[in-house]
């Protein structure tokens, strides 16, 4: 018994519930001989991978669902061995090069060349080319992206590449100009409700409009999250009646607690308390950016209007420093102190200009 998210994941382009124009385009592209390299981008939970899987199925038929997982060993130039998991069917191969960290270039070069130099042996296959799906393409290093450039043109005859990324900002222009860009926007609340109704119908139980809407709005356009929450709630109360309490993840409530602490009191002692809480969050592997964003959102909701813009400004600044720097906790703390001092000065009416 798999989760609903997986169980009700559409397998064909016809089964997709929203972005019908996009599905139509994808279908017609897949049916023509002339299939381009593609780049799917959009926020998480919008259905990028589902669409990629559907396109593959449309291209090659049912064979793409028979997947096997291989562990491949790559040798870096410095003779280090890298184990990379590769998911493949007879027609396509799926890799996440960012697993290899800074050695992603080696993987791209080795694997793509290997695939590009072998021809499709299955004569009954609908297309002569194989498809390489590269996940998390926006985390590829510059070198790896540069390695893709010429490969994409040169081996066009027996290979197509499908890139999957959250944003195109980190991809270099030559890659973007070689791909057909496909934007997958997050579904609207109504579309999420529709999908949830569909699931409810398949599971044979009724779903109240209001409950559905509440879950959909809470999910913030992330269909995966919506379905997971939906299933969890269904486990708690089978008829989904009564007031719904959408359980927030622990880390989120914890972040909110930290935000409340910052607003309540601004003192060195409080900074120490906040610091220990931040350590706690970091040690549970919550990404520092997510921590900062969640706390900032919460703080902004609870302070005076004139402070909001400043708080977000410093959040942006310290988030950047966090990326460039090395010790995440320093910058988180610095932001907390900054917010505290802004807040306090605001109360004592001291002008903060020129204090940067």
């Amino acid at each position: 018994m798999s989760l609903w998210v997986d169980f009700y994941r559409p397998k064909q382009l016809d089964g997709l519930h929203y972005h019908h124009d996009l599905s139509k385009r994808l279908r017609s592209l897949a049916s023509s001989d002339d299939f381009p390299h593609m780049l799917f981008y959009g926020p998480s939970g919008a259905g990028k991978k589902t669409r990629i899987a559907c396109v593959l199925r449309e291209l090659f038929g049912k064979g793409t669902e028979k997947l096997k997982i291989d562990q491949r060993v790559f040798l870096t130039p410095s003779k280090r061995k890298l184990d990379i998991n590769v998911v493949q069917s007879n027609y396509h191969i799926e890799i996440t090069p960012s697993e290899a960290g800074s050695y992603d270039r080696t993987i791209i070069q080795d694997l793509l060349k290997e695939i590009a130099q072998t021809q499709q042996v299955d004569l009954s296959a609908k297309h002569r080319f194989k498809v390489v799906v590269i996940n998390e393409a926006d985390t590829l290093s510059r070198d790896a992206q540069a390695a893709l450039r010429r490969t994409m043109e040169k081996y066009m005859s027996n290979m197509r590449i499908i890139l999957c990324a959250n944003s195109t900002s980190k991809l270099i222009a030559p890659i973007k100009s070689r791909c057909l860009l496909v934007r997958v926007a997050a579904p609207t609340t109504e579309e999420i409700v529709e999908v949830m109704k569909h699931v409810a119908k398949q599971e044979r139980f009724g779903l109240e409009d209001e409950a559905a809407k509440e879950i959909a709005e809470d999910s913030n356009g992330n269909l995966r999250k919506a379905l997971l929450v939906f299933e969890a709630l269904r486990m708690q109360s089978p008829d989904l009646s009564g007031p719904l309490t959408i359980a927030k993840p622990d880390w989120e409530t914890y972040c909110h607690k930290v935000a409340d602490m910052i607003v309540q009191e601004q003192s060195p002692g409080r900074v120490m308390e906040v610091r220990s809480k931040l350590y706690e969050l970091l040690s549970h592997c919550i990404p520092p950016t997510v921590i900062l964003k969640t706390i900032a959102e919460r703080v902004v909701d609870r302070v005076d209007e004139s402070l909001k813009a400043d708080i977000m400004h410093w959040a942006a600044v310290y988030e950047l420093r966090m990326r460039v720097g090395n010790k995440k906790i320093f910058h988180l703390e610095a932001w907390v102190v900054k917010v505290m001092s802004l807040y306090k000065h605001f109360f004592y009416g001291i002008d903060m200009d020129g204090f940067d």
């Binding site: 017609s28 001989d33 043109e153 081996y155 195109t168 934007r183 964003k293 959040a315 942006a316 950047l320």
Partner: protein
């Protein structure tokens, strides 16, 4: 058949290419076959044409933005010099997808460089080629070579200068170490002007039987900004989409924008308006109360944009164009906005969080405009 066939068949047994030329990307199909076909680089072409007759060639360094014909030019030149039959034995092409560390420079490049060129084989197509007594090594995307690898090239370039010429192709000439740059004669490739892009696109469209209107051509030019390869790729993608429906629908400028990943104008305009940029009196008379509502509105607007999945750099670029070219906005406000855009661009390049920085930009533009 086409110019690229000998190369492609070197690595992969590409019978398929020969059978189905329609599957080739148009960029490859319409690569210039002689240097006279290269669009809008008159100066470089004039210099190179003389080398065709004089059989002498300096080491060369081609640099310029992507899609301006650097690789095409050197390949066309090599092709004209050696003809299809000698091409394989006389030209070595290495690019960033090949391993190009110092070991490759020491082994592969050096070995190729020290070979005395083979005698000219008889051209099978009956034409005569100059076939001068040297080989050409093309190092494409040379700016992604390491400093060490470049340093290792220095002596090789000089030692075998009698029988081997190097051609370095790169985007940023500053990434090539000085000793190498000084050994080469430099050619700068400028971005294509819109007339030659337009005529080239019209040519491709005509050859491929794709009906395109003038609006589409101008949309292609404006989205690709002088990058011919990009505009041809967009044209091909658009024609794929239009052909795949039955009956084929004509290509519209909106299609091109969607393919290019450009944020539609209405979206950007409404975003700018909500920041108080376009409709100036919208946010001029704000007092504390209304503004309070507006912070959350700005945030909501940004969240909406991010949910639609538009890329942050693209939003930034377009917002920048809109603000800077705004007819009525005061100069000092524009200056403030420009500062924000610069900071945000740097932040995004460093990999900062997109939503936070778009929000930051929005808030500061909002503050500057009000």
């Amino acid at each position: 058949m086409t110019f690229f066939q000998p190369q492609a068949s070197r690595k992969a047994a590409t019978k398929a290419v020969v059978e189905e030329p329609s599957l080739q990307p148009w960029v490859e199909k319409y690569r210039p076959k002689t240097i006279d076909d290269v669009a809008s680089q008159e100066h470089t072409v004039a210099v190179l044409r003389r080398t065709l007759t004089s059989t002498n060639l300096p080491h060369m360094l081609f640099y310029g933005p992507p899609g301006t014909g650097k690789t095409s030019t050197i390949l066309a030149l090599a092709r004209q010099l050696f003809g299809p039959d000698n091409f394989r034995s006389r030209v070595l092409e290495l690019n960033a997808s090949d391993e190009r560390g110092i070991s490759i420079v020491r082994d592969k490049i050096k070995n190729f460089a020290r070979q005395t060129p083979r005698a000219q084989t008889k051209a099978s197509d009956g034409k005569t080629y100059p076939c001068p007594p040297y080989k050409i090594i093309i190092l494409d995307e040379a700016d992604s070579m390491t400093q060490d690898a470049q340093a290792a090239l220095r002596r090789i370039m000089e030692t075998y200068a009698r029988i081997t010429r190097f051609c370095l192709v790169c985007n940023y000439v500053t990434r090539i170490i000085d000793p190498l740059a000084s050994r080469c004669s430099k050619f700068r490739f400028k971005p294509l002007d819109s007339e030659s892009t337009a005529s080239r696109l019209a040519h491709v469209a005509q050859e491929e039987n794709v009906p395109v209107s003038d609006q589409v051509i101008s949309a292609l030019i404006s989205t690709s900004q002088g990058d011919l390869r990009r505009s041809i790729t967009y044209l091909q993608s658009a024609s794929r989409l239009s052909h795949s429906t039955d009956p084929p629908v004509p290509i519209t400028p909106a299609d091109i924008q969607e393919i290019a990943g450009v944020v539609p104008d209405p979206v950007i305009n409404s975003f700018a308006t909500s920041l108080g940029v376009e409709v100036a009196d919208d946010s001029m008379d704000v007092d504390g109360g209304v503004k309070a509502k507006n912070f959350d509105e700005v945030r909501k607007k940004v969240k909406g944009l991010m949910r639609e999945g538009y890329s942050a750099t693209q939003i930034l670029t377009q917002l920048h164009d809109l603000v800077i070219e705004h007819p009525t906005l005061a100069a000092h406000k524009k200056a403030q906005c420009a500062l924000v855009f610069a900071e945000a661009d740097k932040a995004l390049c460093d990999g900062a969080d997109e939503e936070l920085w778009i929000l930051e930009t929005a808030l500061r533009v909002y503050k500057a405009a009000s």
